[in-house]
């Protein structure tokens, strides 16, 4: 498991990556959802995925996306992928 400090960092980094796509200026919390709260269409989601992949030098396969609804879930997934690297 990722340490708590690590997890907080990942969350904050991802919040930073979301900002350019946050057209509705939603305040982002761990429970913020991409579809419901941020209202991102599927194409924007994929651009965001690419940004996260490049930030961490990892791959997040598209088939993982349906299970990732909230920002925290993405942060956890990124940490998990990083651990397995």
């Amino acid at each position: 498991m990722a340490s708590d400090a690590n997890a907080t960092n990942t969350f904050e980094t991802i919040v930073g990556l979301i900002e350019p796509f946050n057209r509705k200026n939603v305040t982002i919390t761990p429970d913020t959802t991409f579809q419901g709260d941020l209202d991102l269409d599927s194409l924007t989601v994929m651009d965001l995925v690419a940004a996260i992949e490049d930030e961490y030098d990892i791959l997040i396969p598209l088939n993982m996306l349906p299970d990732l609804e909230t920002v925290q879930q993405v942060a956890d997934a990124v940490d998990k992928i990083n651990q397995e690297k």
Binding site: D41, L43, E53, D54, I58, P61, N63
Partner: protein, 399 residues
């Protein structure tokens, strides 16, 4: 309480109903009569068709039509069965032979549509632990194929070999890798930089599929597509294509030199569990594929038409999808979807049909008036299309 399964489509119904009432409905165009490859009657009006995929004008080729009629007389209207049961006639094999000759490959497999060819080949080749790496602007059939299969799906930035390399580098070792690109992209009409994409794929041991749906018949010396035009055929593992564009009928195919290719006939579900193409379609496809091998002159006319349309629209000041004519497709980008709809509707009322394409069917959220030319268009028709665009463009303040 029961839930109406259609409720989830309410936002789409709303969007449809919000289309300006004064405009024609872009999703309900009916061709009342088709007079030729380039002219049809729509709403009682003679209309220039500048939004089909009939690049080489094969739909009214006399030899292809005669072959289809003869096939109906001799073999009836349909096969009523799958390729692996009662649906393979001599002519299906002859069509596959014609494709092998056209592409110079060892193997060819014919599907009932190009959509099914992508669905079948991609979902079958890449299994649970494999990785598929696709261009972000891939056609819906490629995305759907990815969803249908069990492989891991990774996207790279459109036409960027650098981004592809970055992603291939991150893959685990010892996994199957399949890269998928298109020769020409259907919405903007831009061409893929295949030498770079192929070289990166090979460097990382990935197989590569090139979908040549919009390049068959006029790209490359004998019309094999962009892989031939750019000299990388020998490094492309699979070419996927369709009969619904330059070949002028319907159907899809995959060609390859892989020694085990034919096993796909026993494991590829979109090949096995749907009826085969009717004999008339097979006969016209076979005739047209053979013709396209020797259609250099017609291809030259098509390229001339493509450049004329692109230049006319560019000189008029329209914002286009590509800087130069990279294909018979020229996409005019319009800032708002409302103006786009009006523009499209005015074109139709002035006797010019083009495709209107809005997000999410388009890359980068663009609103497009997608024009595509045919080898059968006359220079006058092209000029009429350009003049009509200019007149409406000025009226709507687009140029």
């Amino acid at each position: 309480m029961s839930i109406d399964l259609f409720d989830k489509f309410d936002p789409i119904i709303q969007r449809r109903d919000q289309l300006p009432k004064e405009a024609e409905n872009p999703f309900a165009v009916q061709m009342e009569k088709v007079l030729s490859q380039t002219v049809a009657i729509i709403n009682g009006r003679e209309t220039i068709l500048c939004g089909t995929n009939n690049y080489m004008g094969q739909t009214f080729d006399q030899e292809a039509m005669d072959a289809a009629k003869e096939a109906v007389d001799n073999f009836g209207t349909g096969t009523t069965g799958s390729r692996v049961l009662n649906g393979t006639y001599n002519s299906h094999i002859e069509l596959e032979d014609a494709l092998k000759e056209f592409y110079g490959t060892e193997h060819a497999m014919v599907f009932s549509t190009g959509y099914l060819a992508n669905l079948g080949i991609i979902s079958t080749l890449a299994g649970r632990d494999d990785y598929i790496i696709i261009d972000a602007d891939s056609h819906a059939s490629i995305y759907d194929a990815c969803q249908m299969g069990q492989a891991n799906i990774v996207r790279f930035k459109h036409n960027s070999a650098e981004d592809l390399e970055k992603r291939l580098r991150r893959l685990p070792e010892n996994v199957g890798k399949l890269v998928i690109v298109e020769g020409i992209y259907s919405m903007l009409g831009d061409e893929a930089p295949l030498p770079e994409l192929v070289a990166v794929s090979k460097k990382f041991g990935a197989s590569i599929i090139v979908d040549e749906a919009h390049s068959m018949g006029f790209c490359g010396e004998t019309g094999r597509g962009v892989a031939q035009a750019q000299g990388v055929e020998k490094d492309v593992d699979f070419i996927i294509g369709t009969f619904s564009k330059s070949v002028g009928t319907v159907g899809g195919f995959c060609v390859s030199n892989h020694p085990k290719f034919d096993v796909l006939r026993l494991v590829c579900r979109p090949y096995m569990f749907t009826a085969s193409l009717p004999p008339s379609v097979v006969a016209s496809a076979k005739t047209s594929v053979k013709q396209l091998m020797h259609a250099g002159n017609r291809a030259a006319v098509l390229w001339e038409n493509s450049r004329a349309l692109h230049k006319g629209l560019k000189d008029a000041g329209f914002k286009l999808g590509t800087d130069k004519a990279e294909s018979p497709i020229t996409a005019v980008c319009i800032d708002s979807d409302e103006v786009c709809t009006f523009f499209w509707s005015e074109l139709l009322r002035s006797g010019v049909y083009v495709n209107m394409a809005l997000p999410p069917a388009t890359p980068s959220g663009l609103n497009l008036l997608r024009c595509s030319v045919c080898a059968s268009h006359t220079p006058e028709q092209i000029q009429t299309v350009v003049a009509t665009f200019i007149e409406i463009g000025k009226k709507l303040d687009v140029i």
